[in-house]
Subunit: 362 residues, 2 copies
């Protein structure tokens, strides 16, 4: 997969902002949405960064994104609340929800927001990590376009429904678990498909319910497998986690759930007789000080991290990795050395610039 | 695995209560601890029921359980709190923590309790499901004796650290996800070992970091694998989930964490220089009404459940199962037809009765 020369995050950010403004976002929303996308690129989650920009534009052009949403609290009771995202960009709805969750955590000890009528919110880690600077833990999850079949089924019923928890440490970077509840995230299949590589058995089954190593079988009607891959290895647990995310994000908020979650790609139709509005998130902040003095906790987290990094390795060249550590390293590196983009992404963004009649850095 | 004739839950409960009273529990605590154990047997989780009774007694006899604990709130701030279980039975500490979480949820919208200085609390589902009758969601997790190696390591660093969420529906039984964060729960290995059966590759590695299908390799120094089994199939996610449970239960509460969690079996020593007290739980209740009217939510849950049960099956004889459904069916059945016990468990309980000089139904 050939890559471009690195771009600076400020160049990419300026371009992304101009795109969001061109489709009608306010300056503030365009900056926020760009910040969320760029955070994915900086952290090395290339599938969720600028690579998705043209996808959001296509959703807008298909009338599925409202770039001037009235994001509102539709229910509010102590620590808990429900947000109507008014079909706004999830990239904007997500952070606004976390801001409210943080206010709630200051007032009530924690804050939990369920969100309906939103769209894809980028990397869950952006939203969860917002809580860290307030000395809180953050959590974020979202349902997503159905691609995963539950154990025993060959029907796409769940998204890759990610779960993220961000937990601060003292001297070490935060613990940031941000994981799809499927065996492999869709982005990994896209990469294998671009590189024309086989994928491991246990990621995907074809439309007849047979194992396959050909990533193209997903678009041909197949489905991703839940974390665990098969019954013997606990796929019912991956299915259960994806279901939990779907219920907290979709059922609890008034959004769509299960197979009714609107697809991210604009060329796939939205199903009829929807049980809710848009897709859903679940976002929360938890005040650590309610359990233990913050400094005591983060010092204990340091001890946890150091002990796990020192766990006896199978291969001394590959020590145990702390969740969030590779993304932290990528972030530090790319802030300095810039962000390389896949050449297809550069081409796609160039076309997008031409399509929207915008200057571009490519 | 030959099984006994079924016992009534009241006979087993009476016996269990007499055991807990004999080692010094109050009548109320003995009844509560027995109720938690029996719930496991009723729900078909045979590994966590009466089969463990003699294990708790051995822990008591080794001075690791205080049967007259002063369970206290050591920190309390709005929705959040920390419990010191005073080395009590987790079977008693767990429900008391959930009672406080439920009170908190009435006051603040939700309640989250982190628990230190406790012991093994039986099935997580018992504690989480206590929230259901209050029209709340319940969650429960616990760290446990280290048996699982993180991805890249061959050292036992985590327990099978279960995660449980209980979520009510209207006409259908509650959604109850109660899953170990390892590829297979330890109980499954114990069953295979008793039956002298091979286990699937992907559950266990031996002390040299090699795959094995021999369940005896665990006691020989091997370790369980996280959900996902290997890197290609997302074992870092299973490790991340186990780590999350360890942090919320152990680091946040002041309990031990990682490899320092005291082993359940009394013949294994507790490590020196412990970073905390006992083991830890994390237990919470969430007021559904803070997000959506309860009846609207449970009606939507019915729709979710019905749609998932109707998902296109690979084999029409094996439809999609809702988390908690098999346990619900077992519960209904065993309330009527009684609880069969493995003959080795019957023998073990008979010996226990003789050892403690108690009447018994075996």
């Amino acid at each position: 997969m050939p890559e471009s020369k690195p771009f600076t995050s400020s160049d990419l950010s300026l371009f992304s902002e101009s795109v969001f403004k061109q489709i009608g976002c306010s300056s503030a929303d365009a900056a926020l949405a760009s910040k969320v996308l760029l955070m994915a690129d900086l952290r090395g989650i290339d599938s969720h960064g600028l690579a998705r920009l043209s996808g959001y534009v296509r959703l807008y052009e298909n009338g599925r994104i409202n770039t001037q949403p009235n994001i509102s609290i539709v229910r509010d009771k102590k620590a808990n609340f429900t947000i109507d995202g008014d079909s706004g960009l999830g990239l904007v709805v997500g952070p606004k929800t976390m801001e409210i969750a943080i206010e709630k955590a200051h007032l009530h000890g924690n804050g939990m927001g369920s969100v309906m009528n939103s769209n894809h919110f980028g990397i869950a880690a952006y939203h969860a990590m917002m809580a860290l600077e307030h000395r809180f833990m953050g959590l974020a999850m979202t349902n997503a376009s159905p691609l995963v079949a539950p154990t025993n089924s060959k029907e796409r019923m769940l998204g890759t429904n990610p779960i993220c928890f961000a937990i601060p440490a003292h001297q070490h970077p935060a613990f940031v678990l941000d994981m799809a509840s499927s065996a492999a995230a869709n982005g990994k299949l896209e990469i294998a498909e671009r590189k024309q590589l086989a994928i491991p058995i246990g990621w995907l089954e074809d439309l007849n319910g047979q194992s396959t190593s050909d990533p193209k079988d997903l678009k041909a009607g197949g489905y991703l497998l839940p974390l665990g891959s098969d019954k013997d290895h606990g796929s019912h647990k991956g299915y259960g986690l994806g279901a939990l995310v779907d219920i907290l994000s979709g059922v609890l908020s008034g959004a769509n759930f299960g197979p009714w979650v609107p697809p991210f790609v604009a060329f796939l139709p939205v199903l009829p007789d929807l049980p809710g509005k848009g897709l859903g998130h679940f976002i929360g902040a938890i005040d650590i000080d309610g359990f233990m003095a913050y400094e005591d906790f983060t010092t204990r987290m340091d001890k946890w991290i150091e002990r796990f990094k020192a766990a006896k390795p199978i291969d001394p060249m590959h020590p145990v990795i702390i969740p969030g550590e590779p993304e932290y390293v990528a972030h530090q590196d790319r802030l300095v050395s810039g962000i390389p983009l896949n050449n297809r992404v550069v081409e796609d963004l160039t076309q997008l610039a031409i399509h929207l009649n915008l200057d571009h850095p490519f």
